[in-house]
Symmetry: C2
Amino acid sequence: MKKLTNDHRTRVTKMLIRKAFTRLLGQKPIQSISIKELCEQAGINRGTFYRHYTDLFDLLHSIEADMLADFERAIAPLIAAPDSNVNLVKLTAGVFQCLKDNSDLCTVTLGDWGDKSFALKLINIGREKCIECYSGYFKNASPQQIEYYYAFVSSGCIGLLEKWLEEGMVTPVEEIARMAEGLMLTGVGFLQKE
Amino acid sequence: MKKLTNDHRTRVTKMLIRKAFTRLLGQKPIQSISIKELCEQAGINRGTFYRHYTDLFDLLHSIEADMLADFERAIAPLIAAPDSNVNLVKLTAGVFQCLKDNSDLCTVTLGDWGDKSFALKLINIGREKCIECYSGYFKNASPQQIEYYYAFVSSGCIGLLEKWLEEGMVTPVEEIARMAEGLMLTGVGFLQKE
DNA sequence: TTCTATATTGAACACACTGTTGATTTTCTT
DNA sequence: AAGAAAATCAACAGTGTGTTCAATATAGAA
């Protein structure tokens, strides 16, 4: 684990590792994947793995961190929009679109053997922004209530997302976003529309 | 893994194993717990572990199955209530009360290193019942919409539950149940009350 | 192109955990 | 008290781990 360069070699190695890893994660939970097995799949030497990562979880977190960065970069412009007209539908749609773009990784992290806690991290990026926004709206709601509200809707969105994935993401992004917003804003009232 | 009786010995052994297991799960994720370590903590022989369980996940699922049974037994009377006046608040409160009663296990399964997917299983017990109930209410909502609704609110409830646990379950059960219901029924409208 | 730094390889190593076995001891049931 | 069943203990081969070293191969700069 010395300092390592951005060599072409290291980039290829890391890519091979990641590909094999996501492939394996599509087949079985992380706890039944061995480093030896991963390296055989990736076609790299076991020692090379240890040069880059300490263990499989280090690798997982590294992948997640990269995805997180992608995600933040993608929704930054949406969040940076003027405060007055924060278009929630657009923001939500942007988020879901970004997730769809990374659907291979999503399937892994949100799938049967995925790292559920990571999904929360993803959603929580918008947390402070949301809370701040809502606390402006609802003067008579306590901060604690808003916290609970966010806990509820963020987890709710993950559930929505999982269902979406489960169905192969056939429903258009905009419709999912509309659903998400409807559910967040009016709860069961969402079912009464039309 | 032969047939095993309900001996006093086996009950004690299993109890020791479970206690040690939940204690360890409070300290680290399951993937970094070894069977050897668990047996040392439990003060039992390693071979004895293998007589009852094949591996740590078998043990985990066994514990979860027991908790699930407890859970079902606890909310059965609430669900069996006459269909006409299904009191959602009471049902929800009952559910959360039951979870509070098993808070030690909840902390483990919902905590940092818990098995998030299990929480979903817990919540999904009420799934069919709920869907059936709602589909009666909202004639013009498609089954798919109802599915998405349930996906959203069930995950939302888990998020609420996690936050509740995080705060040490100091908020009264009834208040959490009211929150859950409010969020499920009116979404953000919940913040506008009072 | 050649040179140098560095990444990867392959082999070997001690170590730890696994899952199983058989003989022995303890404990429960009747 | 006697037989049945469970827990213990020690030992076993098998496998993955994490590290090391010398060797080989490759990238990037002069």
